[in-house]
Amino acid sequence: MNINNLQRISNAEWKIDAHAGMHVPAIIYASEELMLSMDDKVYEQVTNVARLPGIVKASYAMPDAHWGYGFPIGGVAAFDADQGGVISAGGVGFDISCGVRTLHTGLSIEDVMASQKQLADVLYQHIPAGLGSTGNIHLNSKQMKEMLNGGALWAINNGYGERKDLERIEEHGRMQGADPAQVSQFAQKRQQNEMGTLGSGNHYLEVQKVVEIYHAETARAFGIQQGDVKISIHCGSRGLGHQIGTEFLKQMVVSAKDYAIKLPDRELACAPIHSKLGQRYLGAMRAGINCALANREIITHLTREAVHRLFPDARLDLLYDVSHNTCKLEQHDIDGEMKQLYVHRKGATRAFGPGHPELPPELRDAGQPVLIGGTMGTASYILAGTEQSMGLAYGSACHGAGRNMSRRQAVRQWHGGQVIQQLADRGIIIRSPSKRGVAEEAPGAYKDVNAVVTSAEDAGLARMVAKLEPLICIKG
């Protein structure tokens, strides 16, 4: 990105003043190095979002921002429903409530390395991954409706997962206000055999070792120690979320003129929150969030079963579960006044600071765990929300490394077999149904995740707590 037209506010904060129809300024949080390599499309998209009706304060982009659909991936924007504010299907994304959760294992690195291959195999056999895979759970329409209302709570009530997981999930595992009646039969059919499946692309299940602690006190509060083994799961609302996104995106494109919304880009299609379509999408999207929460809870259950085959005494307690494609009604302080705002986070993680009432009591002093996925060859990070972050981008931070290279370029540059071998030489086992899929997701195709989290910390969005490196990666 050409940074000459941007005003540098601090080491890791850049501002684009409101111009040409922008209602508010745009702010990008990133180091100069990340800014220089950032896609020009991010500039275009973050300023386009600032042109949407009812946007409050600013349109934000996180350090891992890249070219998305209307909103940049890594975009955050809040809207005031009473000021004509909108809700956007593109601003949430096709994979509604895609997110990451991390489990403790209580195992040592030695335990895992002594049976690394067996653990990789048992996880790969037990957790359906990749295109064409189906779960063992098949939902009829009544069960589907219950799942869409109940989220992770539904999963637990049906024998998948543990009740105490709930307090470690945003919304306590169940998004209120879901309206399954707004989820089309097509979307429901796409999901009926997909519960408890990982999906493909950048989705994964990873066994990781904690290699560095940055903030001892917060790490203690999170239950993280140097040398711990953790398991992280990255996936979303599967076919149901994709179908909701597809259908509502088109409806919002078609109806924008009825609501007199001038779209700078069709992908920014949106509807007023106070409109029939806006409310219908909100109900469907919230049902999609519940689907993702239920799905990650079921995969957690499957993961526990698989690990117990080799380590019957292992306790896989949930550290935390974050969603990074959502629109949520939240209360925020705007110039001294508390306001209810609809906060879109597209490829951005909620990062609430210490003391926030949404956090469970034992995490409240430390701030919300922010789980940042890396690639199969690079580190993942655990961060914590800061007090300062609440006043920056509505308590939000980055979500991952972000791609630096297209899938096509990646396939030209690497072969899957060669990537798997190189990682094996470094002690990392990959299990995947597709070699080309591995090549497309090669670690070199992503931005330097370390630079992304360092920028997030420099900007004050979140504080670095721990670094984890992969031992086993199950790739869809």
């Binding site: 896609d39 499309k41 890249h66 070219w67 998305g68 659909y69 209307g70 991936i73 593109g90 096709f94 994979d95 990749g130 295109l131 064409g132 895979s133 189906t134 097509f186 059919k189 796409r190 999906g199 493909s200 692309g201 076919g239 994709h242 179908q243 996104g245 597809t246 995106l249 088109k250 494109v253 078609v254 069709r266 992908e267 299609a269 791609r403 630096n404 290279m405 297209s406 899938r407 096509r408 370029q409 149904p433 597709s434 070699k435 080309r436 899929g437 497309e440 869809g476």
Partner: protein, 139 residues
């Protein structure tokens, strides 16, 4: 060079599909071939089963969006891959016969699941003597 072919184009996070044809219908067929090629090597897919697809929209861009998303829906719910597409378009109405087979993970090595066809770079237009149909696919 033939006017009937397909290609992929770059998108940082995802991938674009572009079909070319002498007619609008051929361009739509080629865009669908390009979409299968995102998932697997299309020569590995056999035409053992046929299904029918119909879409209606007077806007050509929206018709392409609906066509590709209808295919994605059929791929997802039937667990199939498609290799051959016979499309006819009459004004706002698209009718298609689509050939393919059930996904065989070993043989097809599907590399990615498609989430949806998007409005990004979505365009259907006539260039000199041939038609172009394109959009970015979210994977």
């Amino acid at each position: 060079m033939s006017n009937v072919y397909w290609e992929h184009f770059e998108h940082k996070a995802d991938i674009g599909v572009r079909g070319f044809g002498n007619t609008l219908a051929e361009a739509f067929e080629q865009a669908a071939v390009a979409m299968t090629a995102v998932v697997t090597d299309i020569s590995l897919v056999q035409a053992t089963t046929t299904i029918s697809i119909a879409c209606i929209d007077e806007d050509k861009d929206a018709l392409l969006y609906d066509w590709l998303n209808a295919l994605i829906y059929e791929m997802a719910t039937r667990k199939m891959l498609f290799c051959k597409f016979e499309v006819s378009i009459d004004h706002d109405r698209l009718e298609a016969t689509v050939y393919g087979e059930a996904i065989d993970i070993e043989r097809h090595q599907p590399c990615v699941e498609i989430k949806g066809a998007t409005y990004t770079e979505l365009a259907v237009y006539k260039e000199e003597q041939h038609w172009v149909a394109q959009c970015v696919i979210d994977v």
